[in-house]
Subunit: 643 residues, 2 copies
């Protein structure tokens, strides 16, 4: 905040009335998660109304969990995936040189972020090109999510590192405003003195996380959580801001905005005779737990196997991988903290697997399956190594973090890799079973994807889970609670009941598909075969072909860009000679080729049209097509199709 | 070679008779392209027959273009994508520590490779974990493919960099065998002295590329080319090896092996009444040029646009991006060499685009669309920036480089990204037109994929190319040469001719599809509608639906893992209400979920079953299914399908 104030209110040349003024200084927030500080800087500088910053992380809001330049004037670029901002700043600094402009490019980074190799690629470039119009700022608060930087993955001595990459280095007390302003202004002056002939400057600012609030200072846990009302009051008091901030007004503003969001969302939802939302009625009740918990449970119970080695990639608690050692301190020797360096961790996992270990790592699926794709491909899959990768926080239901952290494409890349197996379990229990299986029984590269938000538990200990084999889930009766109304069988044990349609789903879309089956039965009398295709690769094409043959309507549902599930399902149908001549129509529920958004998880399920209501509405449409075709002879079908 | 000799013949503890001896020293070749040196080291140490190294880069050979540990005992891990080896070595060193083993891990790197950020992630880890059982070796020959390292992207001072990352640094003359052996042995001793408490060691070996051969020394061009017979004789003479190497025997051995490969391949090919291979007959003649040339031509002709900025990523000549400035030295100011640092280059391109530039970059598609996937996603696509990415050397026809360098999965990831457009042109001319269009007319993130090998030119100046719109190609007549026998129209201008089938293809599979049409007509009298789906995203689903309706058989052909084209084509068919009830069968030609292989490009086209012969054989099978269905009424189709 101190550096933000110095930059936005004093040092940087910019014009809040003309945010795109070509000669402005550019400020790049490589640590996108510092967005609240950025928004306050913009607001106090006059780019946006101060009270609107209270709309942080709300649906449709310009104040995304990680900054998005297309939503808010003054935000220069969209960031959130650590380590990219310095490279973007290099690009902007190169553009300024090409255009013979004299403005400066500031880039705000974290110290944990220095673990990302891309930082050193960019640092090398800035040194090589002598970009003295580039000023890096490292917020050295010595903490990252998993703990102290020195313990997670020591980045020091940072000064020596930057010097060896060709940078001018200044170290300051980041809370001493004189030092902050002096360092920033001097760095600007240096550049003006002899443009292009000097060095980029990095200002390493020693700071204290949560500075000024006794219970926040130096506590890693305050990375991403909001204070309670009591904590807020205490914090404002300690900061000497008591009574100076219109807290009630800000809360009211946020509340009003939120009400409008909810009204908009509800207006867009498909309508049925009753409200079928989770827990809306007594018999719609389901226990809710995040699927990720099952991953941690499995690691906890199987972790005695001496081959298992778990990597920490800085969000270990959240994705529950730390359950591996949580109650078993003796396992700490097989817990290796790798920091925020997904590429190297991926190849290092291959090295451990080569030596007979069974490495497990995971992080946000965007970083577990995209940042490191080439390493998964070459180090792990080409070598065919026994490594378990967890793509955590998959789907839009990640919630307020927003688009950068919502993996919606990971299964395309993972399913595309030879030797790779991919499982997307439907609830916490199935996640535990899938992890049990993948960890100890399946040898080879394997990817498990799970979600962040609590979702309904729809399986139990007795529900079958066979890798590569679909389950059929059928609504059987009214029951005191949701899950008991359904029967689940291995698809290979199931016999056709001439259902009206099939909904083929994976992951947290399975409970939604079940709820859609409920809606379709209650409102329309339709019978639904829900196929739980938990194994995306290898896909149970036989189950798909049988379902298509028996029901003629196959609707897929995936919390992913449409295609990871929908496309191979269609392909299984059209390639099957036994289905030739059988009328079949498919539909696809999923994200429609767009990026995510900040918002509450269940709001996003609605906004991205992947709720049971959307599944049911599409199902009704498809059944309508099936019913409208009265069955002309095949020889005449050609004409029907062409009219 | 000097370091290889020292390592494999003196310093490393290993047992050629027991390559998996658990206590052996591990040697990791992070620079996988140094494979010839590795193979010779293994051969002279007794791991494999010396004469077999002459099978380098041949099909089915264990001596892959880049080393593959599953093919050759003594190769520790598979490498080829630069920067991954040091991380793998870190993993192996960590495993040794976990197992309380005292062996050492050597990792051979290049100096150009130091541009990869992953190297610095791994260097940080090795320093953090005090992995003194890890010994890095940098072959500092000061050259990389694009020229001198200091010009391409200066990595110096390497000694300071490694020291600041916590390493012990030794600099030696890499051609002075005493210095080499002493440095390696001392590094081993250091580790033994006090295991776990010290530092990793890096030996920076000053070397001369092509040492000892006058015309090879310090010439970057010798990176990947084999000498002619005359050059070989001269080189052996200068090295004092004249008459000491059984050159003729080696050539004969390679020739015999090659003959066996060709016999095997031919035995696996589908057979027809005549030989329809390219140029087999006078009227099968086609001009052959690599598609990549069209990319360079477009950059050369459009490069005066001052917004265009081209990046060099170290294989600039090969992918023809250097044509941008080749004859226009004044454009050199808009040519930025970024070295081997694909991640940072990608984000830097976003920074330039943010400032109104039109950045263009490209490299092997594996590194242009996988190594940097998270950067393409967040820096470019989420920000919706106008950047042209060239995925060069796509498909198995890359040839002898082998699996690591054959991009077979890139379109999955690229088509999966919101805001991204993807074009896969069919020949050099279409590549030029597509580049012209994407570069100047299409605003947004865009990916063009092209191949390395010369492939038939099947379009001309007058052939339509409309982004997002398919072409129909029809065999019309016998003609003096191949291309003239065909007529090409925009699909939207085409009227149904009740063809027997559709072949929907993209990229260099289009000429193969045309040849398949020729085979099908000549041998079977079948009429084929060839759909050139050059735009993979957005896909021309209307053209697909019409083709499916008109022909009932749709066969896709892609030089990619099956699915990037095949799956959305199937999805377009099954989701179309107008096709409901129309019997349709599809088939898919492409790579079948396996990694590539070293070999001659056209051998690989055969081995991976993506030739016209394979397309034609599959087409005959599908038409057989169509014909065998005699057309029962739709009401009875259910039974037909289930029998």
């Amino acid at each position: 905040m101190d550096i933000t104030a110095a930059l936005y209110l004093r040092v940087a040349d910019h014009d809040p009335k003309n945010p795109n003024w070509p000669d402005r200084d550019r400020i790049i927030w490589s640590t996108g998660h510092k967005a609240p500080s950025l928004y306050l800087g913009l607001a106090f500088a006059g780019f946006c109304p101060k009270e609107d910053v209270a709309l942080l992380r709300k649906l449709y809001s310009p104040y995304q969990g990680h900054p998005h330049w297309l939503k808010l004037p003054g935000v220069e670029v969209s960031t959130g995936s650590l380590g990219q901002g310095l490279s973007i700043a290099v690009g902007i600094a190169l553009a300024a040189r090409l255009d013979k402009k004299n403005h400066h490019v500031f880039c705000i980074m974290g110290d944990g972020e220095q673990q990302e190799g891309q930082i050193w690629e960019a640092a090398m470039e800035a040194g090589h090109f002598k970009l003295d119009n580039l000023i890096g700022i490292v917020d050295r608060n010595r903490l990252q999510i998993d703990g102290w930087v020195k313990d997670v993955m020591n980045v020091e001595p940072l000064e020596d590192k930057y010097r060896s990459f060709g940078w001018e280095v200044v170290t300051i007390d980041g809370h001493d405003m004189n030092q902050v302003v002096e360092a920033l202004e001097k760095a600007k002056e240096n550049a003006k003195a002899k443009p292009g002939s000097g060095k980029p400057t990095v200002i390493i600012a020693n700071t204290v996380k949560g500075k000024g609030v006794s219970f926040m200072e130096n506590v890693a846990g305050w990375h991403g959580r909001a204070p309670t009302r009591e904590e807020l009051d205490k914090a404002l008091k300690e900061l000497g801001l008591e009574g100076q901030i219109p807290v009630e007004l800000l809360f009211a503003h946020a509340k009003q905005y939120q009400a409008e969001v909810e009204r908009k969302l509800e207006a867009k939802m498909p309508k049925f005779h009753r409200n079928y939302w989770w827990n809306a009625a007594e018999n719609m009740k389901a226990q809710m737990k995040p699927t990720r918990l099952g991953f941690g449970q499995s690691l906890a119970s199987n972790g005695d196997d001496p081959r298992i080695v778990c990597f920490g990639l800085d969000i270990s608690g959240s994705i529950t991988i730390s359950e591996f050692y949580a109650n078993k301190p003796e396992r700490k020797s097989r817990w290796i903290s790798m920091g925020i360096a997904e590429q190297s961790a991926t190849s290092a996992a291959a090295g451990l697997a080569k030596e007979g270990k069974l490495p497990v790592f995971g992080t946000y699926a965007t970083f577990a399956a995209a940042r490191n794709l080439d390493q998964i491909r070459t180090s792990i899959c080409y070598g065919n190594f026994n490594v378990l990768i967890a793509g955590a926080h998959g789907g839009v239901s990640v919630g307020p973090d927003g688009a950068t952290h919502q993996a919606l494409e990971d299964c395309f890349a993972m399913c595309g890799l030879p030797n790779m197996s991919v499982v997307v379990p439907c609830d916490m229990v199935e996640t535990r079973k899938a992890t049990d299986y993948l960890l100890l029984k399946h040898v080879g590269p394997k990817y498990i994807r799970f979600a962040r938000e609590a979702t309904p538990i729809v399986t139990n200990e007795n529900t079958p889970f066979v890798f590569g084999k679909a389950n059929v889930i059928r609504l059987r009766k009214e029951a005191p609670n949701f899950i008991e109304a359904f029967e689940t069988k291995l698809e290979s044990d199931y016999r056709d009941e001439c259902e009206d349609l099939t909904i083929a789903a994976c992951g947290p879309m399975v409970p939604e598909a079940m709820r859609a089956a409920w809606i379709l039965k209650s409102d329309f009398g339709y019978e639904t075969r829900v196929l739980n295709l938990h194994t995306l690769k290898p896909l149970d094409t036989e189950a798909i072909v049988r379902a298509a043959r028996d029901t003629s309507v196959v609707l897929t549902a995936e919390e992913h860009q449409i295609g990871a599930l929908a496309w191979p399902v269609s392909s299984a149908i059209t390639q099957s000679p036994t289905l030739y001549g059988i009328p079949i129509i498919t539909g696809a529920i999923g994200v429609k080729d767009r990026f995510g958004d900040s918002g509450a998880p269940w709001e996003l399920i609605k906004e991205f049209e992947v709720s049971a209501e959307h599944i049911a509405a599409k199902a009704v449409e498809l059944i309508g097509i099936k019913k409208s075709q009265t069955g002309p002879p095949v020889s005449e079908v050609h004409l029907v199709g062409t009219k």
